[in-house]
């Protein structure tokens, strides 16, 4: 009888260890970095009603806290709800569905000491970032990253940066600091 209870205890502890490990891994992936805001520039428009259509569309995203539009420069400062699932692809789609294009996309990310290694993607929620033209370094604190993929940059700049040969996959973004 004593042996049985010891066996049960042993199983319980192992179970708890597994659970703890799982939580630790999960937490480590989410606390590594947080996307706090995005500065987006839209193209293909001049009128304020067009800008308002983009503004209203961005505000329908559930992870968006606030949108601050600048009609003169066609930029939108988007701030996100803390611990929300920010999705870059969904932001771009809102601009395109409003009838326009993204010509500039800069994300402000708060890193908690992440080691940047050549070509190893850093996963932040549903977004994987591959750092281009950046030395291996340790990222800590607030860092601004610029997206270089098609649809997040003007077509002129896209040709200049020359990453058209690289594969673009949903959720994977080529960025630069």
């Amino acid at each position: 009888m004593i042996a049985q209870s010891r066996v049960n205890e042993y199983h319980k502890t192992t179970k708890m260890k597994i659970i703890f490990l799982f939580i630790a891994v999960a937490l480590s992936l989410t606390t590594m970095a947080q996307i706090t805001k995005v500065s987006l520039q839209a193209s293909g428009l001049t009128c304020s009603m067009c800008s308002n259509a983009i503004n209203k569309a961005l505000n329908t995203l559930d992870f968006v806290e606030k949108v601050k539009p600048d009609i003169k420069t066609y930029t939108f400062e988007i701030s996100f709800k803390p611990n929300s699932n920010v999705d870059f692809e969904k932001i771009k789609k809102k601009v395109e569905d409003a009838g326009f294009s993204v010509s500039g996309f800069i994300a402000t990310i708060n890193f908690e000491n992440v080691t940047l290694q050549d070509n190893t993607p850093i996963k932040i929620g549903v977004n994987s970032l591959i750092f281009m033209h950046t030395k291996a370094q340790s990222l800590k604190g607030e860092v601004k990253v610029r997206l270089l993929d098609k649809g997040f940059i003007s077509s002129k700049e896209y040709k200049t940066y020359g990453i058209s040969s690289l594969l673009t996959e949903r959720g994977i973004y080529h960025v630069t600091i």
């Binding site: 520039q41 193209s43 293909g44 428009l45 001049t46 009128c47 304020s48 009603m49 800008s51 308002n52 259509a53 503004n55 209203k56 569309a57 329908t60 539009p69 009609i71 003169k72 066609y74 395109e96 569905d97 409003a98 009838g99 326009f100 294009s101 010509s103 003007s154 077509s155 002129k156």
Partner: protein, 286 residues
């Protein structure tokens, strides 16, 4: 149907007539300022925002040429932004041209944007469009119009260029009139029931001089040229439609304009008159 070279010749005559007026207007409009491409009489190549609904009421007060009577046309419309590249709208026609103000039919309009190139304060877009129209009133003019006069079909292509300071839009379409409803035949004969429409529009933002917020009222000036060439008879018309447009709260809009016939060999009942168009847009509605 007339041989192609004759058609092209007649077409070029219309274009030349329009070119002069165009040049003057371009010189006037291509000065400082942004531009708008939400034209009053024609549709640009741009699409509506996905999930948006536009409610429009179009009023036309036209003077009949052959008798002192004013024809009033009321056309309410609902437009939906279905996808990034596709929109659909439906119109209902009411008028008192037949001496009694009554319902006269309706139409469905579809537009598919197939090309879009965006840059800062610039874009070039192209779209294909089509209109299917039903009208139950009598056919009283040689001009063929899917907008409140004839039953039939219109298919065309429109191209719009937004160029920092000027917005230009041009459309070419083929229109075919069928017999109208209520036993009202297209009295000019099957051969004369086909035509080509050509339009050219220019728009410019006058106010505000500096964008500060969405609450500012936008005032735009438009100049549109509309023409039709009957492919069988070679008869045509060329109209000009200047208009003033005001956008409130970046959401609702009013267009006030005047349509004037410049030249015509086609029989037309009431080509000149005032139009007042009101529109309200709901965003992210569905």
């Amino acid at each position: 149907m007339l041989p192609y070279n004759t058609l092209l010749f007649k077409f070029s005559l219309i274009i030349t007539q329009m070119k002069f007026q165009l040049l003057i207007s371009l010189l006037l409009l291509a000065s400082s300022g942004w531009s708008q491409e939400l034209f009053s009489v024609t549709e640009p190549a741009s699409n509506r925002a996905v999930g948006s609904i536009g409610f429009r009421i179009d009023n036309s007060i036209m003077n009949e040429l052959n008798r002192s009577k004013i024809d009033y046309h009321l056309i309410p419309e609902i437009a939906l932004g279905v996808s990034k590249t596709f929109m659909v709208s439906g119109n209902v026609f009411f008028s008192n041209r037949d001496d009694v103000f009554k319902y006269e039919g309706g139409s469905i309009y579809l537009k598919k944007r197939f090309l879009s190139h965006d840059a800062i304060q610039r874009h070039f877009r192209m779209a294909a469009f089509g209109t299917l129209s039903y009208n139950n009133s009598d056919v009283h003019q040689e001009e063929i119009s899917m907008y409140g006069h004839n039953s039939g079909l219109e298919i065309g292509v429109v191209a719009t260029q937004l160029l920092h300071k000027v917005a230009l839009s041009s459309a070419i379409s083929f229109v075919k009139a069928t017999d109208n409803g209520n036993n009202n035949k297209f009295v000019y004969g099957l051969k004369n029931s086909k035509a080509v429409n050509y339009t050219f529009s220019v728009g410019k933002l006058m106010l505000p001089t500096q964008y500060k917020n969405y609450k500012q009222t936008n005032v735009n000036l438009m100049l549109e040229f509309l023409s039709q060439l009957n492919t069988e008879s070679g008869k045509y018309f060329a109209d000009v439609a200047p208009s003033l447009q005001m956008i409130f709260n970046s959401q609702s809009r009013i267009d006030v304009g005047y349509r004037k016939q410049l030249s015509s060999t086609l029989l037309r009942t009431a080509p000149n008159g005032i139009f007042i168009r009101l529109e309200y847009s709901l965003f992210n509605a569905f």
